[in-house]
């Protein structure tokens, strides 16, 4: 038992930090810090820098163009990106779809998709959720029927992040209607410009635009777009969802909040925030920092495999706390800023700020509202608690 970062880890952290400091465009960092959902045009330049450095895909195997980093190195990279307001580039493609194609895809699929994903020329969205199947993938209804050399897909997906700007969807569809609910699923790559694909944005209460409904009507895709073998979609989906077990801890985002909040408090003290209130907000910041310090080590324990058979439970635990702490962080920021977060700011920050709003205000309410979704997606808190109970105590 040796609980310390190695010298190599520390050197790696410095290397990442130096790279980000040199290469991250200042305006991108500013927009990322606001917290609105940025479009491809905004974040693509960063992906190209990462690609040039060989760091485009931290979670892919090295032989497919990934970095080959250890889990601890990936953790450090993610944390430093979070702290420096560097965006997570195309999370679904890089952290979920990519590893699935590397692991299960045919050489032809790998040839076709992996390189463009690395260079930022190919975005994916993830077509899992459906209107009648929130956290319950076994009840998916979208069907893919083999017809000659094609699959013909019919169905509806919902909560599809980035569908409006993705090139492809990785679609979980039922290919064997007679099999048991989990056995008849397959994963198929669907071009978003295929005839029969309709994307309808879903307005969400945070006022940002990021999730969609996707309607699939007689969508025809070549059979070669099937990943792996027919009806192994459940296995692939579990691999995909399990691949980023620690992502839902959001430690990068949390550290970004923690780093920013003391300055916000100081600023607001010059704009009417009283010393008693400021002391209370500093106290809340410290309590959150203490919780996040523990959360970071919970993540490290999972990454280092310390948890052993308890891995599922540990991953659920950090997802629950990650969402909870994000809400606390965002709530604290909006409390510090007080009435200044009332205006509806636009993701397009070309509009002038209202007279009462400092540059730190835009995005703060949006993020607070959005993090309520973090208690839902990827399995609600209640489902995570069920997982923990079943894994450890039943």
């Amino acid at each position: 038992m040796k609980l310390a970062f190695s010298d190599e880890d520390k050197a790696f952290r410095q290397e990442v930090r130096a790279f980000i400091a040199a290469e991250l465009p200042a305006d991108l960092a500013r927009r990322e810090a606001m917290g609105f959902h940025n479009g491809r045009a905004t974040v693509d330049p960063w992906q190209r820098k990462l690609h040039a450095r060989g760091w485009a895909a931290p979670s892919w195997p090295r032989e497919y163009g990934g970095t080959g980093w250890s889990p601890i190195q990936r953790y450090i990279f993610e944390l430093e990106c979070g702290l420096a307001n560097a965006p997570e580039y195309s999370l679904i493609a890089m952290s979920m779809v990519g590893p699935v194609i590397c692991r299960f895809g045919s050489p032809a699929l790998q040839e076709r998709f992996l390189a463009p994903m690395l260079s930022g020329d190919c975005w994916f969205c993830q077509g899992f959720s459906e209107p009648q199947a929130g956290s319950d993938l076994a009840s998916l209804r979208t069907r893919a029927v083999r017809d000659g050399d094609d699959y013909v897909i019919n169905g509806q997906k919902i909560w599809t992040t980035d569908a409006h700007m993705a090139d492809y969807m990785i679609c979980l569809a039922r290919t064997d209607p007679d099999a048991k609910p989990q056995a008849g699923l397959s994963m198929i790559i669907v071009p978003m410009d295929a005839p029969g694909v309709t994307v309808r944005p879903i307005g969400t209460i945070d006022g940002d635009a990021h999730v969609n409904e996707v309607f699939l009507e007689d969508v025809r895709v070549p059979a070669g777009h099937l990943i792996g073998k027919p009806n192994e979609g459940w296995t692939q989906a579990k691999f995909l969802l399990g691949h980023e077990r620690t992502h839902n801890a959001y430690v990068g985002m949390l550290c970004r909040y923690l780093a920013r909040i003391p300055g916000l408090i100081d600023d607001e003290c010059t704009r009417g925030l009283g010393p008693v209130e400021a002391a209370e907000y500093r106290r809340r910041h410290a309590l959150l920092a203490i919780d996040v310090e523990a959360l970071q080590w919970s993540v490290l324990r999972v990454l280092a495999g310390e948890e052993g058979p308890r891995l599922n439970a540990a991953a659920s635990a950090i997802a629950i706390r990650g969402a909870e702490y994000l809400l606390r962080a965002a709530d604290l920021e909006t409390a510090i800023l007080g009435p200044q977060v009332i205006p509806r700011f636009r993701p397009d920050d070309s509009l002038p700020l209202p007279a009462g709003a400092p540059a730190s205000a835009p995005g703060r309410s949006t993020q607070y509202l959005y993090w309520w979704a973090a208690t839902i997606f990827g399995g609600t808190d209640e489902i995570q608690r069920n997982i923990i109970w079943n894994t450890l105590f039943r």
Binding site: V276, P339, A355, W372, R385
Partner: protein, 358 residues
């Protein structure tokens, strides 16, 4: 002690509920004229100015329904705060005529009290410098509720002698810049800037001190608490319905004890807000100024210390659909975020409560 609503109060509640149900599809059109027709503006106005001078209980019954219905009219600002301030500050015929015109809806007045970078401070840094027979106004007011739609602005400014004057000005006049914008809960506010704007002496309604301004806000604060209460009760009812009708893993959501208990928890919190509102109303009737202010801050802390968590839990219990703008429950969460920082926030009122407790 009588907790039962009178017949008149039941009628008021029913008519409000019917009114909002009827215009459900048309929520964003202005209803200020209807508010006047229904007597809801007169309810706040004093009897000697043609108003009804309604009990605080009556006003809160209305506010509860406005919250349930997510009404966007600036009732707390343009009815309660504006009338209370004018009632305390203006005199004689000017007072009576203005209040009567506000009560019948012919003049809509928006209170402009807050300033950029000054949080909830009520002491105006805006100056009204004597200029000939009138005044020269310089400075800005922000987050004026309904400020883009009002006929007149009621604003506070510091006079040359250091006292505070309350002015009634026309936002359409040259020398004022009105910037209207939306709030996160679909409300409309405005920032207003004055650049050496010249007004006549008749614009000065009277002088007022900060404590009196704060007192004028207190009924509006209770109205926002009642508004939140109405909204939260509705959000809970929606959640209860949703859990009963929706299934997952082959079982109705309502059959899961963890979800049952989450809903019960926010029910208890919401019902406690009603109790807190009642203690504040009792203090209003009791007449002691310190006890009244303390009780109102108590109610504010109780309400808005819990409101976002309650509404957010209702969203959470709905799953994804709760996050969408097409569905109503998430709108309550946004409304709580705005209300809780409208006339001071939780920390502001906790500090006031503590200062008044010693």
């Amino acid at each position: 002690m009588d907790f039962t609503a009178s017949n008149e109060q039941e009628m008021l509640r029913d008519s409000a509920r019917r009114f909002f149900a009827d215009r459900e599809g048309d929520r964003h059109a202005s209803a200020w004229g209807s508010y006047a027709d229904l007597g809801w503006l007169a309810l706040v106005a004093p009897e000697d100015a043609g108003g009804i001078g309604g009990d605080i209980e009556d006003i809160l019954i209305l506010a509860e329904e406005m919250g349930r219905a997510l009404a966007h009219e600036p009732y707390a600002g343009s009815a309660i705060v504006a009338m209370r301030l004018i009632d305390r500050t203006a005199d004689g015929d000017a007072r009576r005529e203005l209040l009567a015109a506000m009560a019948d809806g012919s003049i809509r007045v928006a209170p402009a009290l807050y300033e950029p970078g000054r949080r909830y401070a009520l002491s105006p840094s805006m100056r009204a410098t004597g200029d000939g027979g009138g005044f020269r106004l310089s400075g800005a007011k922000i987050l004026v509720p309904g400020g883009g739609d009002a006929d007149r602005l009621l604003l506070s400014a510091t006079l040359d002698d250091g006292t505070i004057g309350l002015f009634l000005v026309d936002p359409a006049a040259t020398g004022t810049t009105v910037s209207r914008y939306a709030t996160i809960d679909d409300g409309a506010v405005a920032d207003v800037a004055f650049d050496a704007f010249i007004i006549g002496s008749e614009s000065l309604l009277g002088r007022i001190d900060i404590e009196a301004i704060d007192d004028a806000l207190d009924d509006a604060r209770l109205a926002l608490c009642a508004d939140a209460l109405g909204g939260l009760e509705r959000a809970i009812a929606m959640t209860s319905d949703y859990l009963s009708t929706r299934s997952q893993f082959g079982q109705p959501l309502a059959s899961f004890q963890a979800l049952q208990h989450s809903l019960v928890e926010i029910f208890i919190d919401t019902d406690s807000i009603r109790s807190s509102l009642y203690q504040a109303v009792a203090a209003v009737h009791d007449g002691d100024g310190v006890a009244r202010r303390r009780a109102i801050s108590s109610c504010w802390v109780k309400t808005f210390g819990a409101a976002k968590r309650i509404a957010g839990t209702a969203v959470h219990l709905h799953g994804g659909i709760g996050m969408t703008t097409e569905y109503q429950v998430g709108h309550y969460l946004r409304r709580m975020m705005v209300s809780e920082r409208s006339f001071g926030d939780v920390e502001h009122h906790l500090a006031r409560y503590m200062a008044l407790s010693t």
